[in-house]
């Protein structure tokens, strides 16, 4: 390698190729993804997250929830994502179209949360109960007491105070961050159907994933 210029040009091209495909190529393909208009519902899906849920996603990111929870469901037949009730179909790129920072995650120390709201409702996970889980911890999940404020009851007990055990004369009140986080968790639901998320009818495997 005598020639410095050739060397640098080589480096430039080598990284440039993968940059062109994986960064520029991916971005231009994503630029073409459009929301899906559902005739039955008369609306476009996915829908933009409500402001409070978008704020909650920032709390989710700041606490590092994605270190233990994924938000991506594999298609039925791979693992037991469907059997565990995490989702009837795989998640696809279009599901995350409007998310500022998709929290796909890489580890399943806790359950997948991609469709958390869909199973929370039938299980009776009202916001109060979810807040109590966050305050006390639940199963393997640690408590997040710093999302709550412990304060002396002045006059009457606050309406939104948690129904958890604490010192007499005190009450536990969720902070705005706790409420945002819960609103975010209870908004996670990919309930609509996309053509590309349908399982392949013939047993070719990969077809269902393609755009």
């Amino acid at each position: 390698m005598r020639n410095g210029i050739t060397f640098f040009l080589g480096l430039f091209c080598a990284l440039g190729l993968s940059w062109g495909a994986l960064v520029v190529g991916t971005r231009s393909q994503y630029a073409g993804i459009k929301p899906h208009y559902d005739d039955n519902e008369g609306d476009n899906f996915p829908q933009r997250p409500a402001g409070v849920a978008a704020r909650g996603q920032l709390v989710y990111q700041d606490l590092g929830c994605a270190a233990c929870h994924t938000q991506q469901v594999r298609r039925p037949g791979i693992g037991s994502d469907k059997e565990r009730g995490w989702g009837d179909r795989q998640t696809v790129a279009r599901d995350f179209l409007y998310e500022a920072r998709p929290q796909l995650g890489t580890m399943r120390i806790g359950p997948d949360l991609a469709n958390y709201a869909a199973r929370a409702e039938p299980a009776g996970m009202i916001p109060d109960r979810l807040l109590a889980y966050l305050y006390n911890g639940h199963g393997g999940m640690p408590a997040y007491p710093f999302l709550f404020e412990k304060r002396k009851i002045a006059g009457e007990r606050a309406e939104h105070a948690l129904k958890v055990r604490t010192e007499a004369g005190y009450e536990i009140v969720p902070t705005g961050r706790a409420n945002d986080l819960v609103a975010y968790l209870l908004s996670l639901n990919h309930k609509y159907e996309f053509p590309e998320a349908q399982p392949a009818t013939h047993d070719k495997g990969e077809e269902g994933e393609k755009k």
Binding site: M1, L11, T26, F96, L104, P145, E209
Partner: protein
Amino acid sequence: MITTSTTAVAAEISDIDVSARRPLLYLIGSGLLWLVVSGIFAVINAVQLHTPEFLAHCSLLTYGRVHAAQETAFLYGWAGNAGVAIALWLLSRLGLTIFRGAVVATLGGVFWNIGVLLAVAGILIGDATSFPGLELPTYTHWLLLVSFGFMAVPGVLAWSGRKHETAFAAQWYALAALFLFPWFFSIAEVSLFLAPGRGTAQSVIAAWYAQNVYSLWLAPIALGALYYLLPKISAKPLPHYEFASLGFWTLIAVACWTGPRVLVNGPVPAWIPTLSIAAAAVVLMHFWIVWLNVRGVFATGGSVVLKFAAFGFASYLLVGIADAVFSLRSVARVTQFTYMQDALTALALIGSITLIFFAAIYYIAPRLCGRAWPSSALVRAHFAAAIIGFVVLVVALAVAGWVQGQALNSTASFADIAARTRPWLLVATAAQALLLIGNLLVTFHFLKIVACPREEAAALTFRTPVAMEASAS
């Protein structure tokens, strides 16, 4: 005539080390301190995995935040500092030039460490981004990028002022690392923060970036060190050296395609992980060629430098094979989302990168300080702690990951999975603690060698004749 030229060159080589002394000792020292910091975070994390309530009341130390802080301190604190020091030293030594730009590099190093400190503190108060490998809070990015540019200046000067027109393999690797990091870092900066891609395009770009940190930045520095140290210490030329450039270009051109394989089965267009899985198989070519070149590292005994290098190189090869095997869809359906990923990260970072960097530091520091390491007992203790800790950690996490993956694919409850993996996670915690002890020992030993006065007699023995320098490749 011969004698004079040898003496002149010997003096020159020694001058290289004298001129490089302050900046490189500063970079290696701060790297080691970051390694200890990252080790403390790693122990906290390991305890939290089997005892989730550990330190949970403290908002600074949630599992996710500590995890990100640990990764950042390790990659940018330890590997960044030490890696740049090793790359600069290789380039000056092989370019046979006086270390120019020492002040600029030191200044860059100071600001780089301020940047990493800000980043770790920022992560603990919740400013981390959500991209693995790039958790650095956004406000530290430009500081880190600019200070990296300053740190790399002596490397560029040593390259342009090199005495041999033909460059050695160690020089290609070191220079490529210095050149490619700022480039792919700024691409990630633009595509993830300034003009973020839509939805999960960000996940693809982040996976591409994270792979590049390993394959195009840290691994080339480690390989450069291997290509330099082995012929230097064994005093034999490398076999099949004519293939070395092919090995180099396979790594640079193909490894950067392998990142998004972690998104297999994920919500991204299917061609992306498929291409990455194929690339992970193609890049095996690179591992085969470096094995042909550097396998002599397994044959030589005695020198602690080569012992570290041998373990590091063995894990480097294993990383290549493991990346190809564990990216296969049939294997990934079990190991995806499990501790197996942590085991592979440990194999890559604590194994190949850290062990080879240790080899280089054990070789470089005595030359910079002009004296031998003060205590051979400390060297042996560190070696034992580093190797035992590393092997036990990787095995424990791999078994935990396999158990966890099998259980996740059944309908076992999460309490059940936690109970089944708990014994292995306890072993992993012990391994992390052992690694931390080893890192404390080497940091203490390093501070000691820096503080001790030079030994002129010892310094003379390091002045190797130019023939050795040339046989480096």
